[in-house]
């Protein structure tokens, strides 16, 4: 009898171990292995465990490398106020025993969605006090502020204080609500491409059907495709069919029926890089260890239009192929999927009316505000604006929303107005129809100290 039960137990143990072992090493669907729901930041790549867990053994450094491989660049650009190097001096050893600020996961622990706050924070919001106890004596103005109100809208941010540091607040304290010249930077891609080709003595001109090179294509050519291409920026600038539909110009190169971001990347590296860094394309990023399919609206917890639920994201999902109309991509494409309060309110907003007027020629070029203006801003790569790149990482200016102030809001608005507007949650929901009903005292406090 005993032998029988031993046998059953052994079989069960081997069976369960084999099942999970196989799943961990070879399995396609690793869902049962997830120890807890992943946060909004990472849920898209939760099925690729080895993107973050690169090594079964290795301690905190392994996970730290996983964080930095995707997030280090952004923190560097943000002039991170609390980089690891701030904490490595041994004089901080006793503080680090409670909160080890050298490692991302000390404050941003994954797989604990139930205790995850905004920005992926898994610490109580008064963590700042652990190191900054001197504030009580040093800042009279902060006497009555709550201990968990430090990292709040318009005041302080743990990592990115580019729009919030004192010197910046003071320098831009007196700006009006609307600037005298309220324009976003002019796009420069086409112009720079023509100049670059001219340097190589390559002629750039609008192409017609007779000029089209689709040598490796076999089958019937859809007529509307050719017309769309001819009218697009590609067709107008000597970009051939095989430039996208093949990986080389030779006649026997394989025809790619549906080019993806890898083909677009051959010319549009910064845009594809941004796309793969944001929520639209992170599943397809090179840093993801397993091949994942592009995200569809159905898999996200945001609100989307019913007819868009099954559409996989890609370059052409917004920039419909062959037309590549950037105006459509700036508004219509977004609203084709996004169905939340803020998106729906856009069409009634003052920003949209500016956009409409610009399209109709009633306002100068670059004075309108589309979805893309704020969520995929045009960024000047140099002071003169000779090189302007559209940042395709829709997350770059999203959270915390103070990240939007410098590249976007301050093109048209003064700093004080921008801070107040972004702190007003109701105003954000109705897509900035009206004035901010909140006033954040950051600039006032900075000016007060300046006077002393």
């Amino acid at each position: 009898m005993k032998r029988f039960f031993w046998g059953v137990w052994l079989l069960l143990t081997i069976g369960i171990a084999a099942y999970y072992g196989y799943m961990m090493l070879y399995g396609e669907d690793k869902t049962p292995l997830l120890i807890g729901e992943t946060t909004y930041g990472h849920y898209q790549i939760e099925m690729s465990c080895s993107t973050c867990h690169t090594d079964a053994f290795g301690g905190p450094e392994v996970l730290q490398n996983a964080c930095t491989q995707c997030h280090a660049e952004e923190l560097e650009l943000a002039n991170d106020s609390h980089p690891k190097s701030k904490f490595t001096d041994p004089r901080n050893a006793d503080l680090l025993e409670i909160i080890d600020a050298r490692y991302c996961v000390s404050c941003h622990t994954e797989h604990h969605k139930d205790k995850t706050l905004e920005m992926g924070l898994t610490l109580p919001k008064d963590y700042c006090f652990h190191c900054h106890q001197e504030i009580i004596e040093e800042r009279e103005s902060h006497k009555d502020l709550a201990f968990d109100s430090c990292a709040s809208a318009g005041c302080h941010n743990y990592h990115d204080n580019r729009a919030l540091y004192e010197g910046f607040l003071v320098r831009h304290a007196d700006e009006p609500i609307f600037k005298a010249i309220a324009l976003i930077p002019e796009r420069t891609g086409e112009k720079r491409y023509i100049e670059k080709q001219a340097k190589k003595k390559i002629e750039v001109k609008p192409l017609a059907l007779a000029d089209a090179n689709f040598s490796s294509f076999s089958g019937e050519l859809p007529k509307d495709v050719v017309h769309e291409w001819m009218a697009s920026a590609h067709g107008k600038n000597s970009i051939q069919c095989i430039d996208c539909h093949a990986d080389s110009k030779s006649a026997d190169a394989e025809w790619i029926v549906k080019p993806d971001h890898n083909q677009c990347r051959s010319c549009h590296q910064p845009q594809v890089k941004g796309f793969l860094e944001g929520k639209h394309g992170m599943r397809l990023a090179d840093t993801v260890a397993d091949p994942l399919t592009a995200i569809t609206p159905a898999e996200s917890e945001l609100e989307f239009k019913h007819e868009s639920l099954g559409i996989a994201h890609s370059c052409v999902a917004c920039h419909s192929s062959h037309e590549f109309d950037t105006k459509t991509a700036a508004v219509e494409s977004c609203l084709g999927c996004h169905n939340d309060e803020h998106s729906l309110a856009y069409l009634e907003s003052p920003h949209f009316s500016l956009w409409e007027k610009e399209q109709q020629g009633e306002l100068p070029k670059n004075s309108g505000v589309s979805c893309a203006t704020c969520h995929m801003p045009r960024e000047k790569m140099d002071k003169a604006g000779t090189k302007v790149i559209v940042n395709h990482n829709q997350n770059a200016t999203l959270r915390p929303n103070e990240k939007m102030i410098r590249p976007v809001c301050m093109s048209c608005h003064g700093l004080a107005f921008a801070i107040d507007a972004l702190a007003d949650e109701e105003l954000i929901k109705n897509n900035f129809k009206g004035k901010p009903s909140i006033h954040i005292k950051s600039i006032d406090m900075a000016i007060e100290r300046e006077k002393k």
Binding site: N79, T88, P90, R91, R162, G167, F168
Partner: protein, 204 residues
């Protein structure tokens, strides 16, 4: 029963053997150590930290005089040394910031020592002394001008040799900026004053 004579002979043989062994061994050692030449020996921690401080001081003084004074607002006006230099056109780090940047960079390159700039009258309160030894050291160099402070302490389970060197106001911009800064707790620094200390730590 062995005879007395044979016992004496036997003990003589033992002595001879012992002498032979000793002389061969010492000869070998002598030859070996002669051939060995210079063998590296450890550096005294104090010599080590003094040397490190000399480099740090020289580099920062040179940066202040050759770059900031020469190219800054009082010189060519080509650079703007300011706290928020990263955000300014032609911005340049202040000497204290250049010093701290060095300290941070060193931690990525080398883990045999760390250093920091601290003060009893810091502008940024995070640079006030934290450990008891830091407080003791900074007080000592303030009360004993011209002298350095040396000691050992334990932090986070590791023993350190801690050296505190006086950070003296060598140029007028040092005292002017600190006296006028909105966050300074002390507004009467003079040239030649000890404004703070460089704390160098070597894990033992």
């Amino acid at each position: 029963m062995k005879s007395v004579a044979s016992k004496k002979l036997a003990s003589k043989k033992v002595v001879k053997k012992a002498l032979a062994v000793v002389s061969i061994t010492s000869a070998t050692l002598l030859i070996a150590s002669c051939g060995g030449g210079d063998k590296a020996v450890g550096i005294e921690p104090q010599v080590h930290t003094d040397a490190l401080f000399a480099v740090m001081k020289a580099d920062r003084t040179n940066y202040t005089k050759l770059i900031i004074q020469r190219l800054g607002p009082k010189g060519a006006g080509a650079i703007t040394p300011k706290e928020e230099w990263k955000d300014l056109e032609n911005g340049a780090p202040l000497p204290a910031q250049m010093f701290r940047a060095g300290a941070e960079a060193v931690r990525d390159l080398n883990d045999t020592f760390t250093y920091s700039l601290q003060s009893l009258w810091p502008i940024n309160k995070q640079n006030a002394p934290k450990s008891p030894m830091e407080k003791e050291g900074l007080t000592f160099i303030k009360d004993n001008p011209g002298e350095n402070f040396y000691g050992t302490e334990e932090l986070g389970g590791v023993n350190y040799y801690t050296a505190v060197y006086p950070d003296v106001a060598v140029a007028a911009p040092c005292v002017d900026c600190h006296n006028e800064h909105k966050d300074t707790p002390k507004t009467d620094f003079k040239l030649g004053d000890v404004m703070g200390g460089v704390v160098i730590r070597v894990p033992l």
